[in-house]
């Protein structure tokens, strides 16, 4: 049932895309039609699969690292008053720095291998996770904090047993955003310099005006994003069963 709905969704989107191309008469090198892309997808299946594997592993490692680091930073921010003052501005600035300014530094320190790409993906994922969790940690029900205080809980214990679980819904929200932006993080990482990955393939295809291949790669990337988002959403809702939730991403009919 859900699979069927997904297929219908896909079909409608493809038709809309086709109609758009057809109606606006956009040239192939600006926006190829779905048929051309499907053709490119099929012709380059092997190539795409190979580059997709690279990108996927970057995404997954980046997501894991970003979530870990983000969680750690948010906890640090929430628990150490000093950290808040010093780290937060730094964090915010980190989001405003375009990759090409950092690229030589990253390459110098991490080389041209996987590490620099993962670092970029991590950086992209890091911020939404950190702010979302930090925001959640800021907003613990005061009654619970009072309770913990009278029970003689240390700050660390309150954080771990009360504030953190209470902020998990906010963290989940951040992770959902992170899951959706993780693919672009990996692709940006590949701009730092690489010889494989979907980002590499896309830049390449773009420069060579192989626009149908570019869109085929985009399609794969989009599929990753949706799959990752849906998986994360399902997982998170399973992990937080006590949460009220009126609309799930994969709701039943």
């Amino acid at each position: 049932m859900r699979l069927m709905r997904a297929l219908v969704t896909l079909a409608v989107l493809l038709t809309a895309w086709h109609a758009l191309v057809w109606a606006t008469g956009l040239p192939r090198f600006i926006l190829p039609g779905p048929l051309a892309v499907a053709d490119a997808l099929q012709r380059n299946a092997g190539l795409l699969a190979q580059h997709a594997a690279t990108t996927l592993s970057e995404i997954l490692v980046g997501l894991a690292l970003g979530v870990l680091l983000g969680t750690a930073s948010a906890i640090l921010l929430a628990s150490v008053r000093g950290a808040r003052r010093w780290l937060m501005p730094l964090l915010v600035v980190s989001q405003a720095i375009p990759v090409f300014a950092l690229a030589p530094l990253l390459v110098l320190w991490l080389g041209y291998g996987m590490a620099s790409k993962i670092a970029m993906a991590t950086l992209v994922i890091y911020f939404p996770v950190t702010t979302a969790l930090f925001d959640g940690l800021r907003r613990t029900e005061p009654g619970w904090l009072d309770l913990a205080r009278t029970m003689g809980a240390s700050g660390a214990s309150t954080l771990w047993h009360i504030r953190l679980p209470a902020a998990l819904p906010a963290l989940a929200s951040g992770i959902r955003v992170a899951a959706a932006v993780a693919p672009i993080g990996a692709v940006i990482g590949e701009w730092v310099g690489s010889s494989s990955g979907l980002g590499y393939l896309m830049l390449h295809a773009n420069a060579r005006m192989q626009v149908d291949l570019l869109f085929a790669a985009l399609f794969v990337l989009g599929a990753f994003a949706v799959a990752l988002y849906a998986a994360t959403d399902a997982l998170l809702r399973r992990a937080l069963p006590w949460l009220p939730d009126s609309h799930a991403f994969d709701e039943k009919d």
């Binding site: 380059n44 030589p104 390459v107 590949e190 730092v192 310099g193 590499y200 393939l201 830049l203 192989q210």
Partner: protein
């Protein structure tokens, strides 16, 4: 034992890099006792920095950029030449209204920021009796051909004559190129190899250049086999566009990669100084050498 050598390309692998790729694929580097790794960055400005920082031995760069970078104090020297003519050109639609550089007056010119497009265009416009004030420059980043094909700009500067022209032809909108060296800009080497200034007596470098020279000659003598070697394992480089670009690039490879035309560099330095891109024209041997 093989000596490891890291070479940073200026961009993703493309036919401009044929001699390097072929030398690697055909084992010429290995024959010279070198284990060469070719690394492709996404930003052409990074490789010179990384070579200057000692992260790699060699980088593929451009003569004008080198002269600007040296002016900014980067410890770099040219040690070899890959493509010994300019590739950069000003491109318009063949059937468009711009028949000569003069016709650009009041029009939009797209460019992908390389650092000296305005200098190039300025010189070309001045020869035609115009100036930079007569056109609007728009950064279109990596979308040179699409921006002109879709009519967003009337011309693009920074298009490679071996590439963008073919691209446009394939899209059935052939382009017309104005060549800088015919429009008032001194000729220069488009693609060169740069090394760190402190490393000019690295014994691996002459061996490397010798292998590159061998590859250039091999490409000239055996174009079919060379092309097969070039596309081996890189199927995305074996399409119509890349095949055409391959053919157009072949005659432009320097037949003598190690050779240096110092007068050409001096001439171009004067040009750059006149356009305000460098403060002073350094002596050529400060940044370009012929290895012994």
């Amino acid at each position: 034992a093989q000596d490891k050598l890291t070479v940073l390309l200026d961009w993703f692998v493309n036919p401009d890099h044929a001699p390097l790729v072929v030398a690697k694929e055909m084992g010429f580097f290995k024959d010279a006792g070198l284990d060469v790794e070719l690394v492709a960055p996404a930003d052409p400005n990074d490789p010179p920095k990384l070579v200057a920082a000692g992260k790699a031995e060699l980088a593929v760069s451009y003569q004008p950029q080198l002269q600007v970078q040296v002016g900014e104090g980067l410890p770099l020297v040219r040690v070899g030449t890959l493509v010994s003519t300019p590739l950069n050109s000003l491109v318009v639609l063949a059937d468009g209204p711009v028949k000569s550089v003069k016709d650009l007056k009041g029009r939009k010119v797209g460019f992908s920021v390389g650092g000296f497009e305005d200098a190039l265009l300025g010189a070309m416009l001045e020869k035609a009796g115009l100036s930079l004030k007569d056109v609007t420059l728009v950064n279109v980043n990596f979308s040179l051909s699409p921006s002109i094909l879709s009519g967003q700009v009337d011309a693009v500067i920074g298009a490679f004559r071996n590439f963008e022209l073919n691209q446009m032809a394939i899209e059935k909108h052939p382009g017309r190129a104005f060549y800088p060296e015919e429009e008032g800009v001194p000729a220069y080497d488009e693609l060169i190899l740069v090394a760190n200034k402190a490393q000019t007596n690295d014994p691996r470098l002459p061996k490397f250049l010798a292998a590159v020279e061998r590859a250039v000659l091999y490409i000239l003598n055996h174009p079919e086999e060379a092309h097969a070697a070039f596309t081996k394992g890189r199927p995305e480089l074996n399409d119509e566009l890349n095949r055409r670009a391959w053919a157009d690039t072949l005659p432009r490879f320097s037949h003598s990669p190690a050779a240096l035309d110092a007068a050409r560099y001096a001439r171009f330095a004067t040009f750059l100084k006149a356009r305000g891109l460098i403060k002073e024209a350094l002596p050529v041997d400060a940044y370009a050498v012929t290895l012994k």
